[in-house]
């Protein structure tokens, strides 16, 4: 269901728990679906002994993908016109992630109603792991 321009206002925000206690298996599942098999995301031995990280960590794109679920749940399927993020901190196995999308502007492009949203995903320590913007077409 798409949002209606007549029913939303700037400042409205929507939150969702994306994942609780992120499992290594989900990171492997994302490697398989996306095709990004970088050992940094599945191979503890390589990641700790060669790359020098404390453990394997999630693909940034997994977090962006999970955050995308909040957006499509809010604005509806096929409604996004753009979606962009910066990856600000790594996401580790065991992390719990929460995302919030906030309407920061409502505008019109010709006859089309558009909402601009800010989106932020944080981990269990309140650290921002992904922050970005999205825009979506609304119903009148």
């Amino acid at each position: 269901m798409a949002l209606k321009a007549s029913e939303v206002k700037v400042g409205d925000s929507y939150s969702q728990r994306l994942v609780e206690d992120l499992k290594r298996t989900q990171i492997v599942q994302y490697a398989g679906s996306s095709g990004d098999y970088n050992p940094l995301h599945s191979d503890e031995k390589f990641t700790t002994e060669v790359a020098g990280y404390p453990s394997i960590f999630a693909h940034g794109m997994l977090t962006m993908g999970m955050t995308g679920k909040l957006l499509t749940d809010v604005v509806g399927d096929g409604r996004l016109t753009n979606y962009g993020v910066r990856f600000t901190n790594q996401v580790w196995p065991g992390d719990t992630l929460d995302a919030t999308a906030t309407i920061v502007a409502l505008r019109r492009d010709g006859d089309t109603h558009i909402a601009d949203l800010e989106v932020v995903t944080t981990n269990q320590d309140g650290k921002v792991v992904v922050s970005g913007q999205a825009s979506a077409k609304l119903d009148p």
Partner: protein, 167 residues
């Protein structure tokens, strides 16, 4: 560098949606999707990233008969030679994803065939507090459909760090 041809397949969308924890039936059930506004199994917002599956030269996938830099008996499947530097993937820092942006001209649906083309964007450097010198490089990939119409424009920024990011 990019796939020559990226067939958007329903089964692939299903697996991708599962992996990002999304149980929206528009990604799984063609009959359900037919009754929605999009009218078809539609790609989740970040799905075009999975075009890597169709890129013959994608470096982050093991290739048949080729050495792979992940661990086997040893921590890296590639012996690090002093002169070969960081390019083996056995380096201490390596590449990370810094930013990703998508512009949707329309949303791909199951049955589309997309033809990506990549163009390099800007590169720039920055001194990072947590990982030494950072070298950023941008790539823009345009995904067009069989009619040559632009479907998705993807702009990614990668960063190579001098050392692993401090935690």
């Amino acid at each position: 560098m990019v796939a020559k041809r990226f067939p958007v397949e329903a089964g692939h969308i299903m697996m991708f949606a599962r992996s990002v924890g999304d149980d929206n039936q528009v990604y799984y059930d063609a009959e359900y999707a037919a009754d929605t506004e999009v009218g078809n199994i539609v790609a989740p917002p970040t799905f075009v990233q999975a075009s890597a599956q169709f890129d013959e030269d994608y470096v982050l996938r093991p290739k048949v008969g080729k050495p792979w830099f992940g661990s086997g008996k040893e921590a890296s499947g590639i012996k690090k030679e002093p002169s070969s530097g960081e390019k083996s993937g056995g380096g201490s820092g390596g590449g990370l994803h810094a930013e990703q942006h998508y512009e949707y001209h329309r949303h791909p649906v199951a049955g589309d065939i997309l033809y990506p083309t990549a163009k390099p964007g800007k590169t720039w450097e920055k001194e990072g507090k947590r990982s030494g010198k950072l070298v950023f490089s941008e790539t823009v990939v345009e995904y067009r459909d069989a009619n040559g119409e632009l479907v998705v424009t993807a702009r990614g920024v990668g960063v190579r760090t001098e050392r692993p990011v401090d935690q």
